[in-house]
Symmetry: D2
Subunit: 295 residues, 4 copies
């Protein structure tokens, strides 16, 4: 990493690459997030009922996903939208894990819910709206669970690093950063996907970074392309919304893939993933280079 | 393409994919831009002198570039910056073409200069600051030369399509769109690279789209990553700033690669390019898919 | 109000001006917020100790403030910043009310704290970071206390109205909107003050609107000018940060006025306020006009 | 002015307030722009024909405008929009000046047109899209005419000062800055009016600053409010679009006032203007203060 980045982000130096730490690998069940595994997280925006979640879990696992997502407590983007099933949603997620072996990631929105959610989830998700909720970050950090930290809608890279640093300072080094699109003047898509931000985060931090093509685009027909982009940017994985019947989903249907589309996305990603893995394994050299030499 | 995009961009329907036109392929010397060729354009920000340009031209050609860039008339980003060599710069570009066989792209900034620049250049570049200069667009369109149309700093996708449509309406269908980063609240990098915008443009328009990792990032150590991202997004090529001695360049040195770094970037891109070509040739199917099925 | 605005904001029609409701006047102690009173809220960013708050309360009251602000629970903008005194801070605020007669506004950040904060505060502040925390909004609405709803950093006018509408739907019509600057590409000042947004909100909603020149500018030497701007835009009041010793404040010192500067601001505002009041009283006509005629 | 601003804008120090220069007053016919006069510039977006311009000129003069605006060469915001009458438009403007005594401001878009436009116009307008066209700025500066420099759509304050500095460096100190709204994520109105930017420019530069409520809002029913806001921010004048029949204007009708609305705006502004003038004349002290004391 170049000196100039080190100086720029000096106040969050614990998350930066250093001689002591080149990359953080986070064990979750049998996964190693941030290692050579490329981890696809998939599932519905919200846990709606047992049937919906079980069907989705089985299907995404078959297609290659390794972690199941699904909101039990939902940050409502509108006052009238679905709020989630709460504890019942967590129980359904636990059953899905038991049945499929998939790890579980779900959002925790309130400090008070951390113990409950941590009991069920393998990874705690901190949503975009909560990225700077330091009381919540502290409670989540202390739970000991790995944290999936989503970048805020108008968080700069420095803001994101500050929140990550705070989790580390509270004794939890298992932070996964997630780029999910930022808000800009161009509203053609739901957000502007900051793929270069992913590349930069991989160059300067030792933390795993994943891409969220669903929220970044807001349009299901762009998800496969954004998944490829995220992979090429150097991401360690993806988080994708999948629903048995997107047009009738209780939330985020417009940006959710149905099973067939998810299968197609995973199949289409396969040769790109094979190339990425060859690069990481050293079979091909230079093709995921960080170019420190030119720095 | 989905109906909703067609409706949204109905006033620029000439640039949209239709039954009549799936993709526009632009012949430039022996190249077919927008066809299966992935075209790398490389060269200095500005033509500084004959030695600088010749050395660069030979070296980038050897590394695989097919078009030489270099500004003769420079849009100064500061009042005190270098303005370019003007006609002398054009003559040097012409000699470089003669010697290397590379096609030439250079910016035209004033309506009055169109005939002069069109005499020397194979492709006329319309810069970001000029994207909505309709008098210039009209003159450039009527010159008959292919147009490399750079997206404005705060141009929405609709704004970009409107300018492209205007060129088509003036009788010139050879328009190459160029994504070069947009201005947002996050100033960590010089601009925010809208990779999803590239993917969308490839889904909805029949025009070639290229990516400019130099302006999009503003940092040379990120250029290789952004080139990969652009390729994965579906771009038809790249435009990259290369200089024999970036630290002493008259402009844009911070975002220019030296010869060794450009060689490394091209070598690193090679396996990704091979994969892209296999996808386009149908050897691998589905891996550059547009996912119309789910639309 | 023009039909086009009514259509645009149709999903939040309860907050729009209608035949039934031209303006909402909120009684707080002896004040009538949103009526002809122009209400200045002043006080420190955070309650630091009893001496600091009491000194500030007495001084701002003498200068003409009618409501005392002061954070007991602080939304930390950095993980290492001061978190507030919590319940002790609330007790100090209550003593300041008893001694000065000023009404109290303080932020509530967590659903669980609503009953506690509502016991002490005359007005509950919902901070920018919480504007879309619907669980918190619901709890705050149900407390029965008037709500000071700060616009989020990247909330559109529609987003702000949606949150306000949600409070109304939960049985609480006493909502005060607060413009405090939005995040844009220009970071010369801390935020971009959306004065036109205030004018629009006064044209289309029946709710009181106040301006926050401290957060909007982030620079104390601009606060007097932004206060005038807010008044001219039609705001019903101001919220200003005042501290006995801004250079040693625990938070937001750069945007806090000391006592002398607050006195000067209030004195300088006086003739503008007199003019505003003459307009509202009908002594002068047309000078705060909404221009419906031209709509 | 505080040292920190001086340091921040050190590279454009010629436009900053200094011991030598507190304020630049620009003589135009019998006006003194930037002195105590508050100058209202009014007129149509484009000169459409002689009748339209003459009728407008007479009416806006009667209502108190001192300068007539009207585009002869139009920067088309769309490829299909009206391009202006060119030299014929300039001749009509000259006749209007002769008949009404109003000074003339009109935009020059091309370097080559500077001599022609300077022959007719009292003030040359540099449009938003041209703010960084340094060749045009140089030619305009050398014409000797005062320059009305409109802020670019995404120009920071520093960018605007850089362009102004460049005009000064080319021997022309008669620069009038114009805030006309910037592009942000919130598209409720056409642009976001940066009123605090006006206040800042008045604090740190010695140049006159005017406000453009028409372009800043894009909605005619907000123009009167934005005019008041600009005045309260410390602007030295306004530029407002007025048209005999806005609904049938060839351009910008939505943001143009008809004669009656302009009369009403000017009448409504009158008491605010009287107050401003009392402040500037020292009859009232402190009410337009710059608060250097607290800096």
């Amino acid at each position: 990493m170049r000196t100039s980045w080190q100086e720029r982000f000096a106040d969050t130096s614990d998350v930066l690459i250093s001689e002591q730490r080149r990359s953080t690998v986070i064990p979750v069940l049998d996964l190693a997030i941030g290692g050579n595994d490329f981890v696809t997280i998939a599932g519905p925006c919200a846990v709606e009922n047992e049937f919906q979640l079980m069907a989705t879990a089985q299907r995404v696992r078959r297609a290659g996903a390794r972690v199941l997502r699904g909101g039990a407590f939902k940050p409502r983007s509108s006052p009238y939208s679905f709020q989630g099933l709460g504890r019942d949603g967590l129980r359904i997620l636990a059953r899905a894990r038991k049945e499929t072996g998939l790890a579980i990631v779900t959002e925790v929105m309130s400090e008070c819910d951390v113990p409950l959610v941590a009991e069920y989830a393998d990874i705690l998700q901190i949503g975009s709206r909560s990225m700077e909720n330091y009381s919540l970050l502290e409670a989540a950090a202390r739970s000991g669970r790995p944290i999936l930290l989503k970048r805020g809608l108008v968080a700069t890279i420095a803001d994101l690093l500050r929140s990550a640093q705070f989790v580390l300072q509270n004794g939890n080094t298992n932070v996964i950063l997630c780029e999910r699109g930022i808000r800009t003047f161009d509203t053609t898509l739901r957000n502007t996907f900051d793929a270069a931000g992913i590349a930069l985060l991989k160059q300067i931090t030792h933390l795993p970074v994943i891409a969220d093509p669903s929220h970044a685009s807001g349009h299901r027909e762009l998800i496969a392309a954004l998944a490829r982009i995220g992979l090429a940017a150097g991401a360690d994985g993806l988080i994708v919304e999948v629903h048995p019947d997107p047009d009738n989903a209780m939330s985020d249907g417009e940006q959710s893939l149905d099973f067939a589309a998810f299968d197609a996305m995973m199949a289409g990603l396969e040769p790109w993933l094979a190339l990425r893995n060859k690069c990481l394994d050293g079979v091909i050299s230079g093709a995921l280079q960080v170019m420190e030499a030119v720095g």
